[in-house]
Symmetry: C2
Subunit: 448 residues, 2 copies
């Protein structure tokens, strides 16, 4: 049976007419029509199989049968809302609580990372009775009005920064102000936030929240330096604000060694509010905010109901529970550590061979490969990165994409069932293409 | 097999600990634990069956097998995102377009009515380059920061009206400024918006949008007077603004005679932007914004991508298509007209008998029954309404709820498979309880 209703040309034609053009396609000049998927593979309308290195949403693998089974069984039984008591939501909250520090205990279920971050902002403002927000440069926290305001990645393009939003430098130890050679980049970058808070206070404003992606993703697959978050948290708390960790991109064991990205910062750091999203439902619209009893109580204290029509409904929670089960049963965190670690090793090996590779960084299956034109100025190799992405897709049927302010960071955040063989294939093909790009662009090769 | 994992007491205990108390329960003193549902029936943990008169989200009936089938089949096949071409999204947009005036042609798929209304606000502001919004009194457009700002139902409780938000009177012809006896309440209420626009202009502000629920729901199940929307649209357009029709509560054939609530206003009215949500996915998080080519083009013109992680994914669209199929195959619009019409007749008959019934209004399966202490002052019979709701639940296993600024309007918005027998049962039981309430509260009865 054909999996197409329309030819690819017709689909594209209809899409141009019917769907807002702000909704962009990957590889817009040669968009892909994908008709089925399984595990870490996507299949186009001609049956071509692509290795998927970018779908962090389909966390336990595309079309995992256990997720479909859980969804269908619950859809057959009941799908109401949180105004009725139901076991799934409390069971699911219990399971999530087991992965978190004791301090984070009160849950609000919503439908998307954007809804979660918007609610986090409301919680922070209600609790602190302050209004202003500090965010990291290049951050992206969602597509809603309130979140574009706190996402430099978006508001810089729209040319409008709100007076209540303050941008701290991205703690990028590869190309930022304080680099790997610095004795304590965590402290140095934290102090930039301290300085910013002082500036804000001088203007007579007050900080409600510091929003931070636990591993800045759109910013270029950044690993925050040691000690950064705890020190920032001290400064933010002193100013009467709270820390919101945005785990929408990186939670649920992607980093391997921990269940949540913020835990890479050590046991002496815990955010006051944490948001989760994308991987939570393996593609089902499911997201969540968790916070402290104190912050939740203050929110309740405003006397206004929070009702989210679909958030936390029995089907969403059944799916969320099934995702947690699969992560455990298939030991996907261990897989993320092993495979992600191996991928990083292979890429570090390539770095010794290709001067265009400026940096290799990552944790588990969250890996970035930063391409530069030269190792001294770190001039972003934006065109080369685009070329690499395009050739991997067209010649090798491997899907990766770019991130970072200059789109020169190749990002890997594949489904968590990504294998050692997949990692080796990707590294091998990158090697081949970079050799070719290197030759054609006349760049020098180091002695290997 | 038991459908419970925990006892009801345990569930409640866990919920109190784990879920934010701002998320409220129906009948908070005696909350209901619902474990399964089918069609228009909900079943609690003891197997008690309740007739559901309020779940407009489970539009084609709870746990409809065709919806589960469509969801499971697509979950097994593919669930990516809109950055890849896929047939379902364009097929679904085509099917939706067939229900709409030609002018509304460009679709954006999202996960909730709140996300839809937030995007509508962004579209309106981008297109008009104005900032201010006019809303109806008591309106509710969603739980996000931007939407609480334009929802008097919420922001009045929080005590903060933004300077860019302007509240027009609710065109309630039962208890508003202009009532049923008025020669042209549509024109009279439209003129209140005209006056408001003049005030806004005097302040040097400019109108981006007029937001209106096609049938104000939280406001008390209001039917807008004839000609109102077209006349308001003229004034709003003249001021350089656009009209946003919020169909989140009432779309998809609920009103019976039309597919969309705004179409009750006649063929000479079409909004510039329309949002849809709750019933769209029968409980699956699915919502949408549709607008004109011109507005969409301006939004594209800002040069910034709009990416919604889950919005319009293949599973959501498969579910949306299945809902449209069931509406057609089971002739649910016709059912809404017939059953809703019959329910209204029965309630009008009760009105002749019970002086506590001040008004009966509705369209299709969107019906309101307004209770008043007296027919002259129209003093809201809030306690009596609460008593009626509680007794219907406890004695008759019928679930209704209240709406309106004084919570004295009994609202009906059941799944669309609600039957003539259900309507008769509800009317009969309301009669019995009102007779009893009437007797105990010593209210007079008219001659019947």
């Amino acid at each position: 049976m054909s999996l197409e209703k329309f030819s690819k040309e017709t689909t594209l034609e209809m899409r141009k007419k019917l769907i807002g053009h702000s909704c962009r396609l990957f590889f817009s000049e040669h968009p892909m029509k994908i008709v089925r998927a399984k595990g870490q593979y996507l299949y186009d309308e001609q049956g071509q199989r692509y290795l998927d290195c970018i779908s962090n949403v389909q966390h336990v693998g595309h079309c995992h049968p256990a997720i479909t089974r859980a969804a269908a069984a619950q859809m057959d039984l009941l799908n109401t809302n949180t105004r009725f008591l139901h076991d799934h939501i409390v069971h699911y909250a219990t399971r999530l609580a087991e992965t978190l520090p004791d301090k984070l205990r009160v849950f609000y279920f919503v439908n998307s990372g954007s809804e979660a971050n918007d609610l986090a902002l409301r919680l922070a403002r209600q609790y602190t009775q302050h209004n202003d927000v500090i965010v990291l440069d290049h951050a992206y926290h969602g597509h809603l009005t309130s979140l574009i305001d706190i996402s430099p990645y978006k508001f810089r393009k729209l040319g409008a920064q709100k007076e209540w939003v303050h941008v701290a430098p991205l703690p990028d130890t590869y190309r930022g102000k304080y680099r790997k050679g610095h004795p304590d980049p965590g402290q140095a970058y934290a102090d930039t936030v301290k300085d910013l808070i002082e500036d804000v206070h001088k203007k007579g404003h007050k900080i409600a929240a510091f929003f931070v992606e636990s591993l800045p993703s759109v910013g270029g697959q950044i690993i925050l330096p040691e000690g950064y978050c705890r020190k920032v948290a001290d400064y933010v708390h002193e100013a009467g604000g709270v820390v919101v960790a945005d785990e929408v991109q990186v939670g649920f064991g992607r980093v391997g060694s921990c269940f949540w990205g913020f835990q890479l910062q050590g046991e002496d750091f815990c955010p006051d509010i944490m948001t989760m999203g994308k991987p939570m439902g393996n593609g089902h619209p499911l997201a969540c905010v968790v916070t402290t009893q104190e912050i939740a109580d203050t929110f309740t204290g405003n006397g206004v109901e929070y009702f989210n029509t679909f958030g936390g409904n029995p089907v969403s929670c059944a799916i969320g529970l099934a995702v947690l089960d699969v992560i455990e049963e298939e030991a996907l965190r261990r897989n993320a550590s092993l495979v992600g670690g191996h991928l990083k090793e292979l890429l570090l090996h390539l770095q010794r061979k290709h001067t265009i590779i400026g940096d290799v960084r990552g944790a588990g299956l969250f890996v970035g490969l930063e391409l530069v034109k030269d190792q001294a100025q770190l001039t972003p190799a934006t065109e080369e990165a685009a070329k690499l992405v395009r050739r991997l897709k067209e010649e090798e049927l491997i899907l990766v994409s770019t991130d970072g302010p200059w789109e020169n960071v190749i990002k890997f955040k594949p489904p968590m069932c990504f294998s050692i063989e997949d990692a080796e294939l990707v590294a091998e093909k990158i090697d081949v293409i970079l050799l070719d790009i290197g030759t054609t662009s006349q760049s020098k090769m180091k002695e290997t």
